[in-house]
Amino acid sequence: MSYTFDFSWIGAYLPVILKGLAVTVELTVVGGLLGVALGTACAWARALGPAWLKPVVAAYVEFVRNTPFLIQLFFVFFGLPSLGVRMSELEAANLAMVINLGAYGCEIIRAGIEATPRGQFEAGASLGMSRFETFRHVVLIPALQKIWPALSSQIVIVMLGSAAVSQIAAEDLTFAANFIQSRTFRAFEAYMLSTALYLVLAILLRQALRGIGWTLFPRRAAR
């Protein structure tokens, strides 16, 4: 059986596709930055924080890691308005992504912190640094360096998971593909294009994260 491909609609729907790309990139950048920040804060709280804070953070992390992202998204977008908290679909999408990456990032970064040798903490204390200064100047960067590949993977996973935000009418790349399909009925071509674009975005994101790793982290001497 043969199928004649027809991509002639790309010109007419280019604005929709570009808008979808822009929204997905924005969600990834904001979600990635704020998510890693939230994850670092939570990781510090669980590993080195005060005793009363640990169960609070643990509850948040376990809740987010054990429920589907789509349900979290619906919770924020459809559920919160009943409590009086109304936000637009982009705000809801960003919030859900930050919360999601924050929880997974917390566990990944905490693994890096807990892999720091005890001697580092003692060295910081012996130089008269406060616990926070020790964390910031001595512990954090090597910890991030250790887990950077895992954290990059998680950021890419969250970017690909952002496809779910099309369910709340946020106009991302998946929404653009669905929209084109509903107007042209060319499902195969529409989803081929969006798959290709996600692939390109994911590859670019991984390269960008590798680049960030090269700049931020000291390189080890070859063994």
């Binding site: 009943s82 109304r86 099309s166 929209f179 509903s182």
Partner: protein
């Protein structure tokens, strides 16, 4: 002749005779007068939907219930005959009518030129339209008033295509993946206004929500008609008369309020 051959010859002859009898007594498409048949038989046979609430569905006690069933009961009562309901689907409702398994099709049937070639339609008896719905406190009376509002719609539906063609970028169209997403968005207040069919709006109203979708204006009207066979002028005239009288004396309005949650539009 062996026993076998004689038996086969007898069965052949019996089969031939049966075929002749069947052809002679076969129901013909052209009936003299369907209305007279109904009255003399004492039963009105109506095809109704079984899986399309609020027009027709099966209740908890396994009896059919819905807008179409109530209209069928009203017509049978006015004709002074018993009612016999036949549940049908969208695919087989017109064939059932054409093969005289039923006298009338009351099954949220829309009128279009292809169907008009094979069956006749009565006057409209039920509203079936796509429109803009919003709570009482939102004032939109026409397409121009949608400016500045967020309009929820199901992606790819008739209302999506119609509204998208009519509005510009100043109206925020929110397209959800399915009817449930659109309904959730409306009920949670994420959109002020929804563009949907009256059946979906009736489903929302049936849940007695805090935000009630009231019809603001129509996008596209395709009311439901009763289907009957061609060349039956007496039956058509009688059915039209009954439906028109029901509109005038309020009984059809009562059925609409009961099943759709709102009254008949003025131009039905």
């Amino acid at each position: 002749m062996t026993a076998f051959t004689r038996r086969s010859a007898l069965s052949l002859a019996a089969g031939f005779a049966a075929a002749v009898i069947a052809i002679v007594h076969a129901p013909t498409q052209a009936r003299a007068d369907a209305l007279a048949d109904i009255t003399s038989r004492g039963t009105l046979r109506v095809a109704v939907p079984q899986d399309f609430p609020p027009f027709g569905s099966v209740g908890a006690d396994m009896t059919p219930q819905g807008y179409d069933i109530d209209v069928a009961a009203l017509i049978a009562e006015k004709l002074g005959v018993e009612l016999e309901l036949t549940p049908v689907t969208s695919a087989n409702r017109i064939p059932y009518l054409q093969t005289d398994k039923v006298d009338l099709v009351i099954s949220s049937l829309g009128k279009n030129p292809d169907r008009e070639k094979v069956i006749d339609f009565s006057v409209a008896y039920a509203p079936f339209f796509n429109g803009i719905f919003a709570p009482d406190d939102v004032a939109v009376a026409a397409i121009e008033d949608l400016k500045g509002h967020s309009v929820g719609v199901t992606r790819g539906s008739v209302e999506d295509l119609e509204i998208s063609a009519l509005v510009g970028d100043d109206v925020a169209m929110k397209r959800y993946e399915d009817n449930n997403g659109t309904i959730s968005a409306f009920l949670s207040g994420q959109v002020d206004v929804i563009a949907t069919g009256n059946v979906v709006a009736a489903a929302i109203l049936a849940r007695n929500p805090p935000k009630r979708p009231e019809l603001k204006f129509l996008i596209k009207n395709s009311p439901c008609y009763i289907g009957l066979n061609k060349d039956q002028p007496e039956l058509k005239a009688k059915i039209d008369e009954i439906v028109t009288a029901a509109k005038a004396d309020g009984s059809l309005e009562a059925i609409s309020q009961k099943w759709l949650g709102y009254g008949l539009p003025a131009d039905l």
